[in-house]
């Protein structure tokens, strides 16, 4: 999907301007209304986005609730040191990146293949049915989908019963640390591939049909057409989606993990966001450490911010993507 921002309006030549445009002065006199309209948004942004940023100071302090932000003792980079010295740090970073990459790679591949297949379907009702069924899970929350997964993937649930009938051993999808990341990845792919395919389907329909006809005339069969027309046709979209998903690498799916994880899979399932949540709002081992949680959260925010900026810049360079 290529989006081009319209450039600034070109000034009309004087004669035409006098005839058709409202006087610039008159419009400018009303410009105060434009600013007035922005007031609510400004207030909301300040209150809920920028004001909380003061709290970033907590990352550099040993926060004591009673003393408040300004009263708590300053520890500089102490919280960061504590974090990196602990066993947890590299574990959760590794988990986060692994789960994230798995979701991105498998998710995109599935979406692309699905889009390619769906594109070949001529039967309209079947196409609609397929799209509805596969895109619906995307719009349900992870509490709902997670709740369903817990039922379906339990050790005595239908999936394991099916495995047993084929003769395979039961798999503890939600309890086995070696399996759990894959459960996360695959259930996320299940939930999202239908919606993820939409953008590829849009790209596929924008490929000029004359190219296909010319190729057929030249004797290209189905797979040749796929290789030489279809794939190159969606390559820009693939590049675009890959660039944009780069910005999300540190977001391994907090909602999903929080619903599905449990103590037995902590070693491979804990991601940065769930760690921050536990340390800051739930209390690990009975202790609530706001400073540490804020520090880790800040690290992730900064890293994430740079990744997003990088991803948008790359997308702009490689695929001509503009936001506005």
């Amino acid at each position: 999907m290529q989006t081009y921002a319209p450039g600034p309006a070109l000034p009309l030549p004087r004669a035409a301007a006098v005839e058709r445009r409202p006087s610039l002065r008159r419009v400018l006199r009303q410009s105060w209304m434009l600013y007035a309209m922005l007031l609510p948004a400004l207030v909301l942004l300040i209150l809920f986005r920028f004001y909380p940023m003061w709290g970033i100071l907590i990352a550099f302090k040993d926060y004591k609730f009673a003393e408040g932000i300004l009263g708590s003792p300053w520890v500089g980079l102490g919280n960061f040191q504590t974090f990196f010295a602990s066993r947890n740090a590299w574990n959760i970073i590794r988990n986060t990146v692994f789960i994230s990459l798995g979701k991105i790679v498998l998710g995109q591949i599935t979406a692309i293949v699905f889009a390619l297949m769906l594109n070949e379907v001529r039967n309209r009702p079947f196409k609609r049915l397929t799209q509805t069924a596969t895109t619906l899970p995307h719009f349900l929350s992870w509490v709902i989908v997670g709740g369903i997964m817990i039922q379906v993937l339990s050790t005595s649930g239908p999936v394991n019963r099916l495995l047993k009938e084929i003769g395979l051993p039961a798999v503890r999808f939600l309890g086995n640390p070696a399996v759990f990341p894959w459960t996360l990845i695959l259930s996320d792919v299940w939930k999202g591939f239908g919606f993820g395919a939409v953008i590829y389907l849009a790209a596929l329909t924008s490929i000029n049909p004359e190219l296909y006809e010319a190729a057929a005339v030249d004797g290209a069969g189905r797979f040749a057409r796929l290789r030489f027309i279809t794939i190159p046709g969606i390559t820009p979209t693939i590049i675009l989606m890959s660039c944009l998903s780069l910005g999300n690498i540190l977001n391994a799916g907090f909602d999903q993990v929080l619903v599905l994880y449990n103590p037995s899979v902590m070693s491979t399932g804990d991601i940065i966001d769930t760690y921050v949540f536990r340390v800051g709002l739930v209390g690990q081992g009975g202790l609530l450490n706001f400073g540490l949680a804020a520090a880790v959260g800040l690290l992730k925010s900064i890293a994430g911010f740079f990744l997003i900026v990088l991803s948008y810049w790359l997308a702009g360079r490689l695929a001509n993507y503009r936001i506005f």
Partner: protein
Amino acid sequence: MIEERGAFDILFKVALYSILMLLVVICVAPFLHVIAVSLSGFAAVSEKRVSFWPIGFHLENYRYIMGDEVFLRSFGISVLRVVVGVTLSLLIMVITAYPLSRDSIYMPGRTLFKMIMLFAMLFDGGLIPTFLAYMSLGLIDSFWVLIMPGALNIFLTIIIINYFRGISRELWEAAMLDGANHFDVLFRIFLPISQPVLATVALFSAVGHWNSWFDGLIFLKTQAKWPLQSYLYSLVTTRDLQWRTGAGAARAGELFSQATPEGLATTMILVAAIPILLVYPFLQRYFIHGLTLGSIKE
């Protein structure tokens, strides 16, 4: 499109449709299982015999849920949240999008504001600072914490901005020439012709509110104030449920002998999913194509 009739082609089509059908089944099957469990009798569920069809059909799980005060209250809170939240959001987003869609000669500083908004979309204080900030604003344990912070959805606002940008300049100039001020133009002219994008934005906002559970969980201390999905989260993750079920199950004199913990959990999940399940197939095109309404294609 090229049509071929060879044997290979038929084989290809058979394989294609089979695989796609399989994908549809994989997407639908978990729901079928969960529906079956919610409708199945105590014996079948406890012995883990239910697959995709109810065994020992009964409606006691649903009866129980419909009479459960906690469930009904949280359902009502969610509904209220959607109604209030979407209305407020639409209003704020629309009056924010209009000025930002005008050319910068009329609005110096427009680009700066857009940059600020974009920055705010990508970067916030983090979970802990946000929590403390909301506390100092008195929002903790207040219904409004579910509404106010999310009222300005920057992503959706950008979509509206782009749509407004696409509205013909002649139309706008004609209106201004006729003596309309900005408010008139926005509410009397732009809004009536923006229905597709407004419908899409309203839908996404509504679904977002309905599905939202984390904010209720951490910002609302009293469980009685929780929206539906926060309550659902607490039940889904404490895997052994608090309901007493089975032959001894009773509430206010009624007997629910066929109800099971799994059945009750799945029933609640389904009831929480029903609004979306019902609405989605009919409004699918708004969900899918609505997002592209704000883009200008070459």
